[in-house]
Amino acid sequence: MINIQDIRDTARDMLAKGEVRAVIGWRAGSRGMPAEPAVITAPEQADELVWDPTCYHNLALHLVEDRKFLAHARKTSGAPIAIVAKGCDARAVVVLMQENYFKREDVYIIGVSCEGSGVLAEWKLARHLNGAVPTAAAFAGDEFTFATAAGEKRVPARDVMADRCLECRSPFPKEHNVALGEDKTGRDLAAPFAALARFETRSEGERWEFWQRQFERCIRCFACRSVCPMCYCEECVVDSINIAVAPDTTAEEKANRIRWIERSATRSENITYHMTRAMHLAGRCVDCGECERVCPVNIPLRLLNNKMEREARERFGYEPGASIGGPSLVASFRDDDPGDFIR
């Protein structure tokens, strides 16, 4: 079990010594739980940091935001920035480094292991609490404990952990500068890609009926894209708002700028958006599950990304977020890549 003081001491220490200019971690939210992402810059703020089952956010996103902020402000980074990173988050950081978004020395990874208990899926919690409102959560071995007005409630972690945690391949942050918590593996959990395999037993017609319903429901809030650390493009290809505008650009040219999809949140446009995103994430998505968590209309986005990830692993021997030095999935090839489908 990780002692929260270790996280706080590490953060305080590094900030006080000026070894890092900021620490990205979690603090308690305004309603007690869930935790919220925090970027602290002063040693005294280290005491705000928390580590509990509601620390489900992928903090690599805030690394990306920090870099963008610096780029816009035309500042150089100076000292590195530290990030408290779970196993999944650390893999996201590796992908970003693989793509040269950061240099390795710009980021100090304070790895934290969930030790196999995963993080909470809040929607699973309601049925275990009988209406009681939880104000705090804590790790407790194979259980999570929740503070409520009706006393402390203990729930087996397995019953309320996020679906992606059930299929997690690496709860321990392999890439780290310092790692807290044990490297626990071999949990008795669902096999990787289990949900995907179950879905694929459906027929083509059933699959279409399912996905059609999902894409009709999509409101194109773009939360999935906004929360993904890998979607760091300044301008997303589906927005296509930028057009080089000169004094003599005609209204017609502006109106006829390339638009891959319309702004209407109709099924066809939504499909193009989600397919494009899944392709752009192929080999890069580390299954942090945030896209699915934040979707306000419950679209099971992980299925799309998991499909790409399994193809990457099984057909191309490629593992996202495994090594900083490796090539990207779609900019590399092997002589024995499958080609039987080509006439």
Partner: protein, 143 residues
């Protein structure tokens, strides 16, 4: 004549300039008769075909999409078709995953000398597309 027979599938074909597009030209100058259902779009290399082109073609109502390039080892840009092989495989898997009929999207290697093969590829594609009817799943319903 039944409605089914009257339906002519529309194919969008992304052809690499150096091989497949030349191959389709050869079919033309050789006066090989083959169905006129494919609209060719020349691209520099099969590896340059972005998934967005394919999705956009379906969005605009294509009944079938073909990507065709140089044979492995013959890519004008050395590696482009190797990359295409990987990318197109992923697009194919993804389309099938959401329930788009497998026969609507295919890839071929057609060299500049294979005019007959190009004609054959298109002919087969049209025959495989006919029973599927017009593509409605990804097509934008514009009102």
């Amino acid at each position: 004549m039944s409605e089914q027979q009257a339906y002519e599938p529309k194919i969008v074909a992304f052809l690499c300039k150096w091989c497949s597009s030349a191959g389709s030209d050869l079919a033309g100058v050789s006066r090989i008769q083959y169905p006129a259902n494919a609209t060719p779009i020349t691209v520099p290399c099969s590896g340059s075909v972005s998934p967005m082109y394919i999705l956009s073609a379906f969005n605009k109502g294509a009944d079938g999409v073909l990507v065709s390039g140089c044979h492995i080892g013959d890519c004008h840009y050395m590696e482009g078709n190797f990359l295409a092989r990987r990318k197109i495989h992923l697009v194919k898997e993804l389309l099938q995953f959401i329930g788009v009929e497998e026969n609507r999207f295919r890839m071929s290697w057609v060299s500049a000398a294979e005019g007959a093969k190009y004609a054959e590829v298109v002919k087969e594609f049209v025959e495989d597309l006919r029973p599927l009817g017009p593509q409605e799943k990804l097509k934008a319903q514009r009102t």
